[in-house]
């Protein structure tokens, strides 16, 4: 656990950090056309903290991530990253602040090679050539399969490999936080445990993760805190360590 996440003096472990959180979402509302999707979602993520976001399908988990990534602009409320309001910022500027987004559908660039996919994040202004090579080596060290397939088109990779590529691509931005939307969806068990390892590795490097998942055991194991979303609002908030897979709270917000 990183230094920024010590308990507050009154022992309130739910508070992410005594100092300013890395990311603070404050009462955001979003609309898709006329339908009201988020009804004032608020949450916080501390530096290097893994936070899970649980809820049934269609309650606004993905939209929350999109709003943070700048793909959806909230009509009310604010997203604050490192003390800076980013709710109205274009998504490419948000990305360059150090927010990596891994969408649910992975959305790798199918006709670009693996290397070119990674270069979409590496070839930024202000990153020297040597630094780019170093970042690429680092990403390849995490995902050796991508190094092997560097000249293969993204669209020809298997589902699991595409998920690796989507995460690796976000990592090339040197993110301070990675937004992971259902990274294990449709993956084989072996791949699922690999994703869990990667989340742990990111945390150990001091990279925060905001994790949206259907896989409850994985989310409880990987996260420090969990937010439960229902009908576009955060309804409950708990330490992951205090929850078990068959907890009534889990049933309340995820049971069918």
């Amino acid at each position: 656990m990183s230094a920024g996440m010590t308990m507050t003096e009154d022992g309130n472990a739910l508070s992410p950090a005594r100092e300013q959180p890395l990311l603070a979402v404050a009462g955001i509302h979003t609309y898709y056309g006329k339908s009201h999707i988020l009804h004032g979602v608020s949450l916080e993520v501390g530096r290097g903290e893994v936070v899970g976001l649980l809820g049934r399908n269609g309650v606004g988990k993905s939209t929350t991530l999109k709003a943070i990534a700048g793909l959806v602009h909230p009509s009310a409320g604010e997203v604050v990253f490192e003390g800076r309001a980013i709710g109205r910022l274009a998504s490419h500027k948000v990305a360059r602040l150090g927010i990596g987004y891994v969408p649910e559908e992975r959305r790798i660039f199918p006709l670009l090679t693996v290397l070119e996919n990674l270069r979409t994040g590496l070839d930024r202004q202000g990153v020297a050539k040597a630094k780019r090579a170093e970042l690429l080596d680092k990403v390849y060290a995490y995902f050796p399969i991508l190094a092997e397939r560097r000249n293969q088109r993204g669209g020809t990779l298997s589902g699991g490999e595409q998920q690796m590529l989507a995460i690796a691509r976000a990592m090339t931005l040197e993110p301070k936080i990675v937004l992971l939307d259902e990274p294990t969806e449709g993956l084989m068990p072996r791949m699922v445990s690999q994703i869990a390892e990667i989340v742990g590795a990111l945390r150990d490097e001091g990279v925060a993760v905001l994790l949206v998942e259907q896989n409850v055991p994985l989310t409880l194991q990987a996260s420090r805190r969990i937010y439960f979303i229902e009908k576009g609002e955060v309804r409950h908030h708990a330490m992951a360590a205090e929850l078990s897979v068959d907890d009534p709270v889990i049933h309340r917000y995820l049971g069918v």
Partner: protein
């Protein structure tokens, strides 16, 4: 009916030359369509304006190549401005709005040219005047040079797309605009840049074609219709497809004009278009639909 071999060879050369210019016009169009799904009806007018910039620069400097470069650069800037002012606010809305906007722009630009330069066709003299002998026929070197130059511009552009950061940005944006932006690619700049490149290519083809057909306010129309056919036959948004389709259609028209008059030979391109739409609507040269 016997067609002598020498005529077939001459028509092959003609077809390739016209095909290369058509490919240059169509690549700009297909590039813009591929990346923002905007059908730019003003593309032909950008070609025409480029030709006029060429005419004016030529009168000022007397140098064809200076005219070619300045027309390309000026119209590229003009195209980017046109995109920012008229099309950017419409992106993401009903495609009909961008069709109407570009169609309106084409009318405005055509009538501006008519008002500014008059109805009389202007001439751009050939910068290369030599001929060579091809089966008792004087074939102008300039036509060959135009084909080579068009090929070089398209080839250079292809390399630009394949290598370098901007190439990756343009291709990534074409495949997934939202995700490209989420990866930190400055998509608004990429779109304006692509419009600039497409406009510059149209202007270059206008100047290059100037010595053949003369320069007038409606010269864009005849090109744009054929360029649209090429883009559809080649596969909307595919650069290689457009080049191949441009050469295919121009060759077929050239061969057809061995039997019928050149104005009747145009029918061939429509036949190819209709057959493509019926049998392979994603385009002849696209392996899988995007």
């Amino acid at each position: 009916m016997d067609i002598p071999l020498d005529q077939i060879l001459v028509q092959t050369l003609n077809g390739i030359v016209t095909g290369m210019i058509l490919a240059l016009v169509a690549s700009g169009l297909t590039l813009i369509f591929g990346i923002m799904e905007v059908v730019n009806f003003a593309h032909g007018e950008l070609l025409m304006l480029g030709a006029y910039v060429g005419v004016v620069t030529l009168a000022l400097t007397g140098d064809f190549w200076v005219a070619l470069v300045s027309a390309t650069v000026l119209i590229a800037i003009f195209g980017a401005l046109m995109y920012v002012v008229t099309l950017r606010p419409l992106l993401g809305r009903d495609p009909l709005t961008t069709i109407l906007a570009t169609f309106g722009l084409s009318l405005v630009l055509q009538n501006y040219a008519l008002w500014q330069f008059g109805a009389v066709s202007r001439k751009i003299p050939e910068p290369i005047v030599g001929h060579f002998n091809l089966f008792h026929l004087d074939y102008p070197w300039y036509r060959v040079a135009v084909a080579l130059l068009s090929g070089a511009i398209i080839g250079g552009f292809w390399l630009f797309l394949k290598r370098g950061t901007w190439g990756i940005w343009i291709r990534a944006t074409t495949q997934d605009r939202v995700m490209a932006q989420a990866m930190g690619i400055p998509v608004p700049w990429v779109l304006a840049g692509v419009f600039a490149i497409g406009s510059g290519m149209a202007a270059a083809s206008g100047v290059l074609f100037g010595p053949f057909g003369g320069v007038d306010a409606t010269m864009g129309l005849s090109w744009i219709l054929r360029a649209f056919i090429v883009v559809v036959v080649g596969g909307m948004g595919s650069l290689a497809g457009s080049v191949l389709a441009a050469i295919l259609i121009s060759l077929l028209e050239a061969y057809a004009s061995l039997w019928v008059s050149p104005s009747q030979a145009v029918i061939v391109s429509f036949v190819v278009l209709i057959l493509t739409l019926l049998l392979r609507p994603t385009g002849l040269f696209v392996a899988t639909p995007r």
